[in-house]
């Protein structure tokens, strides 16, 4: 399980971003793509371990899951796709450009001032 490593990197990012704002971080919002290699449940669990006893102890984790979106390079259609069937259903082109789904990013912090 690498979600603990991810949770620790997340703490680094939160610290980096929160130095410019005084106050306690109440929550951290992240976007996790289905193709990021991160499991949301495992990340929640890892977050509990990572924040315990730290100055971010009170920061709740808000996870937004990002589905896979692909764009067909031939017919130009952008659509949501299942990971197990990526090929274009319209023109059967196999290779698709990934538009969304690899995200692993911190998007917002809720801070008490």
């Amino acid at each position: 399980m690498h979600e603990l490593s991810i949770a620790l990197s997340m703490m680094d990012r939160i610290r980096e971003e929160s130095v410019r704002h005084s106050g306690t971080v109440r929550s951290a919002h992240v976007r996790i793509g289905v193709l990021s290699g991160v499991d949301s449940e495992a990340l929640r669990f890892a977050w509990e371990m990572a924040r315990a006893g730290s100055e971010l102890e009170e920061a709740e984790l808000e996870i937004e899951s990002v589905p896979l979106r692909v764009r067909c390079p031939v017919c130009g259609v952008t659509r949501t796709a299942e990971i197990q069937s990526i090929a274009c259903p319209h023109c059967v082109t196999p290779e698709q450009d990934i538009v969304e789904g690899r995200e692993m990013e911190l998007t917002a912090l809720e801070i008490d001032s």
């Binding site: 290699g37 990971i83 990013e105 809720e110």
Partner: protein, 230 residues
């Protein structure tokens, strides 16, 4: 003292440090003219055995180095050490994947411009390595004929972030009642258009073909891996 919390928008990639370092590594490798290929699979799919065979063939014509990630032992490094001049073990302890920082530390002191190929064997794991860019030019995922044909469907991310799939232990395919067509279908459904090679380290099947493919990577061509990561 009960002020309303405010929402501050930020936009920061969680693995920013790794991504930045991996990009620097990729540039260094390109400038030095060394072709870097990484290998990922479940434990026991045949990464070390395949690399031994691959390097034995290539080492007559090329200068090769290898890095091997493993949780605990140094056995794989001593096996690979017989087939190439420079090899370093990266012992990760409890960490189930390699990251760019480990690669940067492990190649310290190496003269990259004296190398043609650097092969990286990742820790045996089909989940964790997928999130970490190592600065490699190509990522190869291995699936052995003794594993389930539906593994790619169960671990789509690692197959999707890899560039080439290698089906190993083909000599055991019949005994394991391995369905090659089904395995190819599941690989292609999660990574359409993926190149698939079939090999056996035991009989030598597909080894020459893989050598030729690896050598073709050194021919000048547009960067291939940049789409794989944000």
């Amino acid at each position: 003292m009960t002020a309303q919390p405010r929402l501050v928008e930020v936009r920061s990639r969680i693995l920013k440090e790794n991504d930045v370092l991996a990009r620097q590594l990729r540039e260094r490798f390109q400038q030095a003219g060394v072709c870097v290929v990484s290998f990922v699979s479940s434990p026991g799919s045949g990464k070390t055995t395949f690399l031994e065979k691959l390097m034995a063939g290539l080492s007559a014509r090329h200068r090769i180095a290898a890095l091997v990630g493993d949780l605990a032992t140094e056995n794989d490094a001593s096996r690979l050490g017989r087939a190439c001049s420079q090899v370093r073990q990266i012992t990760t302890g409890t960490i189930c994947h390699l990251d760019a920082k480990m690669i940067a530390a492990a190649i310290e002191g190496w003269r990259l411009e004296e190398l043609d190929f650097l092969f990286i064997e990742n820790v045996g794991n089909l989940v964790c390595p997928s999130s970490y860019d190592l600065g490699e030019q190509m990522r190869v995922v291995l699936l052995s004929a003794t594993e389930g044909e539906d593994k790619p469907l169960k671990y789509p991310t690692i197959f999707n972030t890899a560039d080439v799939a290698l089906i190993t232990k083909m000599d055991l395919a019949a005994a394991a009642e391995f369905n090659l067509d089904e395995a190819r279908r599941s690989i292609l459904s999660v990574r359409p258009g993926m190149r698939i090679l079939q090999v056996s380290a035991k009989t030598g099947e597909g080894i020459q073909e893989t050598e030729a493919w690896v050598e073709s990577l050194r021919a000048p061509q547009p960067k291939q891996h940049s789409d794989g990561y944000i």
